[in-house]
Amino acid sequence: MENLLHELKGKVIETLNLIDVTPDDFQVDAQLVGGDLGIDSIDVLELVMMIEKDYGVVIDNKELGEKVFRSLRTLADFIHQNRSKS
């Protein structure tokens, strides 16, 4: 799980081109969208693509997205649970 969290930090930074953010800036339980990192709804859709492509996990509606993208930890949990199912 810690490995996945660490990996996700790097992937989020790379996918969203967060050029002035380092992995250490991420608080894993902090609000991910609309928080200090400046991540918005378009970024969420970009992350949806990355997660489906890299982990085979589909997040195809807004309601689910709102739950999953609450924090980096909820995202990692969701990926972990759904990846292990398949």
Partner: protein, 722 residues
């Protein structure tokens, strides 16, 4: 008596029918014509509004084919060519381009219909129109914005007979793009329904023949009464949650028609079926009309959303509603969302309709509304106030040599400014957070805008923005398509899709300056900036208080530029850049003014140069008013451009300096925006320096500078001391 604008011809091709007769039948029934995608293969089959075209796609892309069907239909009872064409489109030739690129086609000739501007040029060629051909590309509001410009062309007296057209074809680009934004309802669009889940991507075209007349023409079926434009300046794609921009567009359109909200009998809503659009639009309608709402419906649950074409299709539908005394159903909605406090017309109705408000909203926070009425009524709107010329408040350019000062120091010494300004240097004046999602073209636009803000004395943020680009955001377009091809449409980038629309950069600049007036993007190859300036002059209000930003820029893209722009493929050194002008109506003497004086299509127009000379007031005025000519001769049209220039010089006897500016700027579509800045700076200095003039400096002695464009169009912009 003032000139009024009548609709005297209607042509349409849509998923619910072709031609007025079939559309009238659709209005009576409200039939839904949304079906699973068939046009191209996809892993995910979603519903679309697809049109069955009689022949398969070959050399002419689908948008062009749809557009010409609608145009011919609208012109079928008309004699003679129209004076001007104003087109709204977002996809242009993309349906063909995406297939060619996927097949690694490297022949530039095959891409001749790629440009969004090529659709209107194709119609102009087919219908022998010589006049201005303007293409508006403001995503889903394009068609309605095109109508607003067409209306002003007539009101200003620049044209008597205008064809307003809008078209967009279904293609992989839009289908997978909207899918990547999770904006497609898998059950088909259900506008204003409580369970709505999104839109349905569709295609179509409509054309309206608009004629200026003091009296009501016999064949008039409706009158365009007013138009209103606004920009949310809020978000690249999401509408303002309280519908502020939508409210202002509706209010401006109703005011422009000299009416009040209670005069509106029916609103043809934008109503795409997305959660956000319908909420935003409903909020705006509630604010505007309160408890006295007119009849309301969106037809996008029946035909889907034909993107740029939607506005003109819906105005055409509204004109038929007025003629027939009918109101179309809000097909697709079974349980109106109580949160929207808005009750659409659930079934087709027979009811007299006089005045209709039609809404279109698009990416970039672009909003446009039009008001139409019956042709047999009096029109109480006032004659338009005469507008003063636009005065230059500030200007900036960007070239391979760098920003304005670096560029000018080379240009004035007769040295080349060709090349590509590095991205890192380009982004130096932009906050990293602001631009992390933006690629080259929007960064160029924002960088020009930021320089203008920094370097202009008494800078006041512009209320409206007019942006010309020949090719749009090539980096975003290429990257979007690359991922689409790699993943078979499964993993497209929503960021690239949003950024790929031609008006994305103008939306970014609007957010930077909070510019909430008109936000217009024009595109027409080498004449895109000229179109932006002409549109600004037509639409910017008459008062001296508000400023307007007129910009033009194009990026060089390693893979695409030489395929799309024949001028680029003909020169060894690649260049890009652009220019930005902050303008105001001139309320007092002093400074210098800029105006678009001539803009006509040169193909099939043997007397274009005499027409240009006449448009400029004749040889005597040209000699008296101008001390130099800056001429743009695109490399792809070198021969014809040189011939046009030679004819101009021989007919006028003009013997002062003529500067072939692309020798300095390099080849890119909006080089004329850069040249406008060259001209302004030369005029401000009062002289043409020897390296540009010949042996000695030439003093301008109170004369102005003429900026001429040659090639497939001939254009003239005047820069004059006021």
């Amino acid at each position: 008596m003032k000139a009024r604008t009548f609709i005297t011809g209607i042509g349409m091709i849509t998923p619910v029918g072709t031609g007025v007769h079939e559309i009238a039948a659709f209005i009576r029934t409200g039939n839904k014509e949304i079906r699973p995608l068939r046009l191209f293969p996809s892993q995910t089959i979603l519903p679309t509004g697809e049109i069955c075209l009689p022949f398969p796609d070959d050399d002419i892309p689908r948008t062009h084919r749809l557009a010409i069907i609608a145009a011919r239909d609208a012109l079928k009872s008309s004699r003679g060519a129209v004076d001007a064409i104003v087109m709204g489109t977002s996809t242009g030739g993309m349906s063909l381009t995406e297939v060619l690129l996927k097949d690694n086609e490297t022949d530039p000739q095959k891409y001749q219909y790629h440009a969004a501007g090529s659709v209107a040029e194709y119609i102009a060629g087919q219908t022998a129109c010589n006049g201005p051909v303007i293409t508006i590309s403001t995503a889903c509001s394009s068609g309605t914005a095109a109508l607003a410009i067409a209306l002003e062309l007539i009101r200003s007296g620049r044209a008597k007979k205008v064809l307003a057209v809008a078209a967009d074809a279904l293609c992989r680009f839009t289908y997978f793009g909207f899918h990547s934004l999770q904006l497609i309802d898998p059950d088909g669009a259900r506008p204003f329904d409580q369970d709505r889940k999104g839109m349905t991507v569709a295609e179509g075209a409509a054309a309206l023949l608009l004629e200026s007349s003091e009296n009501i023409p016999e064949n008039a079926c409706a009158e365009i009464l007013g138009a209103g434009l606004s920009c949310d300046a809020y978000h690249p794609t999401a509408p303002h949650p309280e519908g502020k921009g939508a409210y202002h567009a509706m209010r401006r359109a109703i005011e422009d028609a000299a009416l009040s909200p209670s005069d509106i009998d029916y609103i043809n809503l934008h109503g795409t079926g997305t959660r956000d659009n319908d909420l935003s639009e409903a909020t705006a309608v509630n604010r505007m009309f309160g408890n006295k709402k007119p009849f309301l419906s969106s037809i996008k649950g029946a035909m889907g959303h034909p993107l740029a074409a939607a506005g003109v299709i819906e105005v055409a539908v509204s004109a038929i509603c007025i003629r027939d005394g009918r109101i179309p159903a809000n097909t697709g909605c079974t349980r109106p969302d109580p949160k929207l406090a808005l009750m659409p017309v659930m079934k087709p109705m027979k009811h007299p309709v006089k005045t209709v408000l039609s809404n279109s909203f698009g990416f970039g926070g672009n909003n446009a509304s039009v008001v139409i009425g019956p042709a047999d009524e009096n029109n109480n709107s006032a004659s338009p106030a005469p507008k003063d010329s636009l005065k230059v408040i500030g200007c900036e350019c960007l070239t391979g040599a760098g920003r304005t000062d670096a560029t000018l120091s080379r240009f004035l010494n007769g040295k080349s400014c060709k090349g590509i300004f590095p991205m890192a240097a380009l982004s130096e004046n932009l906050p990293p957070k602001l631009v992390r999602r933006l690629k080259r073209l929007p960064r160029m636009a924002l960088s020009l805008a930021s320089s203008l803000q920094k370097n202009t004395d008494s800078f006041c943020p512009p209320s409206s923005i007019f942006w010309g680009t020949g090719w749009g955001a090539l980096s975003e377009t290429y990257d979007f398509l690359s991922k689409l091809f790699e993943s078979g449409g499964q993993f497209c980038s929503p960021t690239d899709f949003i950024g790929s629309v031609h008006n994305a950069a103008a939306g970014q600049v609007a957010m930077l300056f909070q510019s909430k007036g008109a936000n217009i993007t024009t595109t027409g190859g080498d004449y895109s900036f000229e179109q932006a300036l002409l549109s600004a002059d037509l639409l910017h209000p008459a008062g001296p208080d508000e400023s307007v930003l007129v910009m033009g820029a194009d990026e060089h893209h390693e893979k695409l530029s030489h395929l799309f722009d024949d001028s680029v493929s003909r020169v060894p050194e690649h260049s890009d850049g652009g220019g930005a002008l902050l303008l105001k109506r001139a309320d007092a003497a002093g400074g210098l003014t800029i105006s678009s004086r001539f803009y006509e299509r040169a193909d099939q127009h043997p007397d274009i140069i005499p027409a240009l000379i006449k448009g400029l007031g004749g040889p005597e005025r040209i000699d008296r008013r101008f001390g130099a000519v800056l001429v743009g001769i695109p490399a792809a049209h070198r021969k014809i451009g040189e011939d046009q220039l030679r004819e101009f010089l021989s007919r006028t006897g003009f013997n002062l300096p003529v500067i072939d500016y692309r020798q300095y700027s390099g080849e890119y579509a909006s080089a004329s925006a850069t040249a406008a800045v060259f001209g302004i700076r030369l005029l401000q200095s009062g002289r043409i320096p020897a390296p540009l003039a010949g042996e000695n400096d030439i003093l301008l002695q109170g004369k102005g500078i003429l900026l001429i464009g040659t090639g497939t169009f001939v254009t003239a912009i005047e820069l004059l001391p006021s």
